[in-house]
Symmetry: C2
Subunit: 191 residues, 2 copies
Amino acid sequence: MTELKKAHRRPRSDGQRNHELLIETAKAAFHAGEIDIPFDEIARRASVGIGTLYRHFPNRDALIEAVYRSELEKLANSATQLAETRPPVEALREWMLLFIDYIAAKQVIAPALNALVSGTSALYAASGEIITTAINALVARAVENGDIRSNIEPLDLLRALVGVSNVAAAPGWEASAKRLVDILIAGMRAV
Amino acid sequence: MTELKKAHRRPRSDGQRNHELLIETAKAAFHAGEIDIPFDEIARRASVGIGTLYRHFPNRDALIEAVYRSELEKLANSATQLAETRPPVEALREWMLLFIDYIAAKQVIAPALNALVSGTSALYAASGEIITTAINALVARAVENGDIRSNIEPLDLLRALVGVSNVAAAPGWEASAKRLVDILIAGMRAV
DNA sequence: TATATATGCGGAGCTATCCTCCGTTTAACA
DNA sequence: TGTTAAACGGAGGATAGCTCCGCATATATA
């Protein structure tokens, strides 16, 4: 009597709890500067088994993405905001500066942006897309308006910024990055 | 009769041999695309003990620097060449393009440039300095000539390029990077 | 050539991290 | 309350980094 009752069960509550618990635990650790925290240690702090952690997040990148997905979405949303309230080039410029602020505020987000911008980890596809879409829109708008040249690869702008911000060591990196924004903007202007 | 004869002995010939042998072995592996080759494996291929490898190079970065030091020096030298034969801005631009060519030709050099440009590894101090000096000179020359603005942090230009080149995955990165050079040059021009 | 010793060699083995596998437990549903 | 799919948990295999120290040998000296 093998019934075909493949009816889906509601996800187990403990599973959902642990999922969130792990994200919170990882976020806390990251914000405390423990970027290289062993995966095992995260499980220990969340009081779950290692197996559980790995079931929820197949690798470190997946966990980082989960932790910062909401942050990245916020960043993407502000692009829409800026596009509605500012002239095209200004919007683009402000957003790039905002991008830097994000890195500055939470250095931890850097690996996320790195992976996102390098596109190597397929896992970042989702979050990566919203950021890519955001800057594409900003650049397209500025191009249509005749403000900047059309042979720009939008993502390259972010790549350049991430490249500079990788230098977390150097104290003045933030100022450097902001100067770079202006150089890029000036360099992109339509002749 | 403890003589104070602290006379220095000539370095042992086998030591020098192994030093070079290890560099050659590593270079061969890197050029074969085996970037993540285990340290132990390098020792094995060179037919020396692991202890020997670690005595000569305290870590992976040190070995990479040794392998690419001569390449980096060549790159630095070409800056002098360009400075002597080209107008300031052209020299700077050409050198930046050359910089990209280097990354393109040997992707392996990327980690070296990365570490160099981020300045985190003290071990890159030596090689890093010659590159830094090279671009500083090129930029200074262009500034003196009144061609570009003076508030440029030369190293940031390289950082931006390295940032873009980190995207080895994307097929069109080289073209991207070269476009970026022109954007940067245009953006730096004195108004 | 013989001796002394500084210098370098080699690799067992300790540590740390990642990740898998599978027996046990538990929440959802009837 | 019983059945079962879903989730748990952690032992342990695999791999890489690195250290330590007894042994070997090249160099300098007699």
